[in-house]
């Protein structure tokens, strides 16, 4: 293993040097171009100032692409090298090339159906005596944008980037979904963003609407074409209702439990209100609250005999960090995630045992 690490260390150093050289070349190209344009403008030479940028800017773009490719390649190689020992230490089977399938991920009911999906770093092992599989997963949503010339451009946004664990247990549940809500500073930040967006939109829309409504032409056409206007309004209203309904999972109801803190931390959905409360006993709720406080965001669902955990990525492999540091981080992350799952599984096991033995208070 040390041999492999040394090999990746040497590779990292080599590629890192190339990246640095490319970075320097990009800076020289861009600064040179800028100075060239400035000097031409200052010398009132307007005949040839844009010939050089025509060569340097595409060249800089090509170099940026090469740089990004190298970084991605290096990150991938480092991931392989650091995750393998982190999992091997825990006697966990690891394969970088494989991953969970999209069907596996969607059966958790934790994440929406994406337009694009990727997974890697499949691991298989046992947690608290129960078999599990896990992998890194990334889900994207694609958006089509049309410019004024009618050209369409597709952009991708990440819906979820993290790691999902699927554990097979003897517990059989109809369906319980717990999704972490934003809390503390994260919630405040999100609220501020929403308020800014709403205020900006209102400030733009309301004066324009008033202006349009006061226009005599609009007034006349509104009276004449009340039907199309009301149709648009109804369609808009229906679209909102359909979006709200489709967001709710089939057969699942939103639920609240008696702990206000738990309700603040998690969005709860269930197929069976009684089973939900049998599973989420006060002890389990307390454990989940403590974990949310200590490890941050995570999502959890129990469907059939499977328990799904989704952890958003809390650290990413960075090519410019020393390998030893990355290896330590990877080990800590793996340790933390497995310990979290173990704690929850053990608490659930204990509750099930309590019921079986009849030790109810």
């Amino acid at each position: 293993m040390n041999q492999e690490l040394n090999k990746i260390k040497r590779k990292r150093e080599k590629i890192y040097s190339i990246i640095q050289i490319i970075n320097l070349a990009i800076v020289i190209l861009l600064v040179g171009t800028f100075l060239f344009i400035i000097s031409d403008v200052l010398n009132h030479n307007f005949e040839t100032p844009f010939i050089i940028p025509f060569i340097t800017i595409p060249l800089a773009m090509i170099l940026i692409s090469i740089n990004q490719y190298l970084k991605r390649y290096l990150n991938k190689e480092i991931s392989k090298a650091i995750y393998a020992p982190a999992f091997k230490e825990k006697n966990i089977e690891f394969s970088y090339e494989d991953g969970l399938t999209l069907d596996d991920v969607l059966s958790s009911h934790l994440l929406p159906k994406p337009d694009d999906f990727a997974s890697d770093s499949l691991t298989k092992g046992e947690i608290s005596g129960f078999p599990y599989k896990a992998s890194n997963i990334t889900l994207w949503r694609e958006h089509e944008e049309r410019d004024s010339k009618g050209n369409t451009r597709t952009t991708r946004t990440i819906i979820f980037d993290g790691r999902m664990y699927i554990i097979e247990t003897p517990f059989n549940k109809k369906g319980i979904i717990l999704k972490s809500k934003l809390i503390g500073k994260e919630k405040m930040l999100s609220n501020i963003i929403v308020i800014i967006v709403v205020l900006t939109t209102t400030a733009i829309i309301v004066p324009n609407m008033l202006h349009i409504l006061s226009d005599p032409f609009f007034k006349k056409s509104f009276k004449e074409d009340l039907f199309p206007f009301s149709t648009i309004f109804i369609v808009f209203l229906l679209a909102i209702i359909v979006a709200y309904i489709s967001n709710r999972k089939k057969g699942y109801q939103r639920a609240k439990l008696e702990s206000s803190q738990f309700n603040k931390y998690f969005e709860i959905q269930t197929q069976d209100q009684v089973e939900l409360r049998k599973t989420l006993s006060p002890a389990v709720m307390e454990k989940l609250i403590n974990l949310r406080n200590s490890i941050g965001e995570f999502h959890l669902s129990m469907i059939g005999n499977k328990i799904f955990f989704a952890f958003p990525k809390s650290f990413s492999v960075k090519y410019d960090k020393p390998i030893e540091e990355l290896l330590k981080d990877a080990k800590e992350i793996v340790e933390k995630e497995i310990e979290t799952i173990k704690t929850i599984i053990e608490t659930l096991k204990l509750e099930e045992e309590k019921i079986k033995k009849g030790a109810i208070n």
Partner: protein, 184 residues
């Protein structure tokens, strides 16, 4: 002007519909939760004849308690009024709790697989009853809260809706175990 009035009227109507639907859904949620408790209690009542039958041979000194359980079960089955039935069920819970405490005095019971199976099922059902009570209490709390909140309170007054009581911990769970009674 007419457009503005139309928009305000539409907003009022939509607001009224949403408020009314919220109140009704909270009320129905309470009824649903009560129905869930009833269903779990019914499961327990269905289990009692088998349980009594399986322990009768061993617990000859508890004849009186077993008879009481059978009678309470029968009257719970016959009672239509849900409040009265819940009261009988409370009595039944107390009696079953006492019976469970006395199982310890009959070690030979533990050799019976049938009894062990029934005991496990009873425990599971009682856990479900406790969970159903938690569901009911949550539904009642949410319902009681909106009865006092504006604008829901206006609709609640029109519909003459009243506050509902939450379930408290049954007496037998609160009370200390009567050792003297057990040693009789």
């Amino acid at each position: 002007m007419t457009l503005a009035l139309l928009l305000i009227l539409a907003a009022i109507i939509i607001g009224f519909i949403l408020t009314y639907n919220t109140v009704i859904s909270k009320k129905n949620n309470v009824d649903n939760a009560l129905g869930t408790i009833d269903a779990e209690l019914k499961k327990r009542r269905d289990l009692i004849p088998n349980l009594v039958e399986s322990v009768k041979a061993y617990m000859q000194y508890e004849k009186e308690l077993l008879e009481k359980i059978t009678k309470l079960r029968e009257s719970a089955e016959k009672t239509i009024n849900s409040e009265e039935r819940l009261q009988i069920e409370q009595e039944l819970s107390k009696a079953l709790y006492n019976l469970k405490l006395r199982f310890e005095n009959y070690p030979e019971l533990k050799a019976s697989q049938n009894f062990l199976q029934l005991q496990a099922t009873l425990t599971d059902i009682e856990e479900s009853i406790a969970a159903a009570r938690r569901f009911y209490n949550q539904a009642v709390t949410e319902y009681n809260n909106i009865l006092e909140q504006i604008p829901f309170t206006f609709i609640a007054k029109i519909l003459k809706l009243q506050r509902k009581e939450v379930f408290t911990i049954p007496e037998e769970e609160k009370a200390n175990v009567d050792i003297g009674e057990l040693l009789k």
